[in-house]
Symmetry: C2
Subunit: 358 residues, 2 copies
Amino acid sequence: MTVTLADVAARAQVSPATVSRVLNGNYPVAAATRERVLRAVDDLDYVLNGQASALAAATSDLVGILVNDIADPFFGIMAGAAQSQIGGPEGAGAGRAGGEKLAIVCNTGGSPERELTYLTLLQRQRAAAVILTGGAIEDPEHSAAVAAKLAKLADGGARVVLCGRPPLELPGGGEAVAAALAFDNRGGARRLTEHLLTLGHQRIAYVAGPVERTTTRHRLESHRDAMEAAGLGDAVDALTVHGPYDRRSGYDATLELLRREPALTAVVAANDTVALGACAALREQGRSIPDDVSVAGFDDLPFSADAMPALTTVRLPLHEAGARAGRLAMGREAAPAGGIATVPADLVVRGSTAAARG
Amino acid sequence: MTVTLADVAARAQVSPATVSRVLNGNYPVAAATRERVLRAVDDLDYVLNGQASALAAATSDLVGILVNDIADPFFGIMAGAAQSQIGGPEGAGAGRAGGEKLAIVCNTGGSPERELTYLTLLQRQRAAAVILTGGAIEDPEHSAAVAAKLAKLADGGARVVLCGRPPLELPGGGEAVAAALAFDNRGGARRLTEHLLTLGHQRIAYVAGPVERTTTRHRLESHRDAMEAAGLGDAVDALTVHGPYDRRSGYDATLELLRREPALTAVVAANDTVALGACAALREQGRSIPDDVSVAGFDDLPFSADAMPALTTVRLPLHEAGARAGRLAMGREAAPAGGIATVPADLVVRGSTAAARG
DNA sequence: CTGTTAGCGCGTTCAT
DNA sequence: ATGAACGCGCTAACAG
């Protein structure tokens, strides 16, 4: 039924080995023979069997990209950029065999179990590389399990790259990853809160992400640091609410925060999506942005510039970081010194923040 | 180096065949033996080799999901929903072997070549199923190539599902797809334009998607039909501009349309993202929404409700459609009658549209 | 430059 | 209920 290498060999009147050599282009083959073989391939509509090839050569052309939420552009942008550096055979001849890698995006939905499951599945497929994007879950047991899996993956020859995820701190985990691109969440968050303080805000509420996430913690801690430096540290806890990274969370949390502190003059959100929800809640409560209340987000997703007013936020170069992660995974770029590179997070001031009232 | 089935067998003092049977759970195995085997698996940290397994069994556990733009939530939502029906082993035992499928998202970036390349890669991996999402490119040659590939994929045992893509019209293509979920783009677009007509609008501009896309054509044609039914068909061409499905396109196109017809009172956009760009352009030109100009989108992405004013649009049940596509791909749901199901597209009226001035 | 010979790691008969 | 043997489709040595 399905045509195999042997069929091609028979039709081209050569040995299977020769066909393999033509397809992989690693060994010298006479031009005339190569022609015959390629014609046979076309005639028969032959397609290489990936599994058999991978099994025999003990290498795979799969590259896994793990994301927490594929419906969130934050991850979509990084994944797309990474994939563009991996899957992309621009030229012709795409129909035949060749060294193209298959970049596959795996959506964990933020679930630790699924993260591990995907890692196992990837390991089972003997993935050539694995890219983990976004914040990690901070449960020690889970971290250990992930570190162990990554170590095994690396042991099996897979290149492991972290993108927007802090380097593993566990024993055995550090050596496993080829490179880590860490967003400067701390610096960005600090600059953002300082910006608001400079504008005269004092009652600043904070809508944080899920508690157990590294991203959440880093951003929140820096916010607190900045507040403490301004002598406002005591109020932070009472004016902080945690929730998922979605619009609804921003909406609900903001209503709650308004209840706690009706006189608040600024809301800092865990990310832009959450900030949008916060804006909706504030407007519903009759507060105008930024006249009554300033709002700020994080990430600078494309829609942030289109919000009304445009969102003040912290820009993360998601596309660049994703692309770099892709190149690192392909071994097309040298790992940064120490294996860790910090990705800048720059403050972007737009219309949603203004001087505090009064 | 890497531990194989044989190693496990040796440690458990059984034959490789027995280990295989335990792992796959398809044949009766004595409870005691099974225990020994499982313990050996754990002890050795054995992980099944996916390629070898697939090769021997002539089946694969890969399911491909093709998307045009992974950074666009339109696709992210569908892909995530589909994946949730495929990859999801909720229970325990995720570490071992098992029938879990690996759902992999492939980003074509809207490029026909990459679409074909991914299809080939998937074919090479002997994918168990393939889901194609979103509008198709209308180039006949490309369509034929895709149809041929899909036919071959199906021939090789892969289940092919279309989600948000119109059924193939080509010979041999129709039989290849197991099921097609087609969005009611025509009906939705018609209702949307009728809504504006009812509000008294006459000079309605249209920012269409890329010319060669089915989605674009269907939505535009229905818009034209509605306009013609209202005796306004003549103006349609002059007030239509094509562009990609992104914010910038909406922005640029709207500026151009305002130049062509300064007195326009409504702008219909190809989708919500484009609509946002249109809003930005209008505001920049000093037009208020919806007092001066009404704006409408399509898709009802999450951020549409948060725009200011909230966007009138056409709701596509992306999550539901994606999930259904996932189930169809897994064979967990019977194909609809005739292999084609129409997914409803309902008008959602919000604040961005209002009665025409004057 | 090309053909021959062995496996890669596992599933699956066929025996027992 | 279990083991032995064969083959899935391909690549990689080794000859020649």
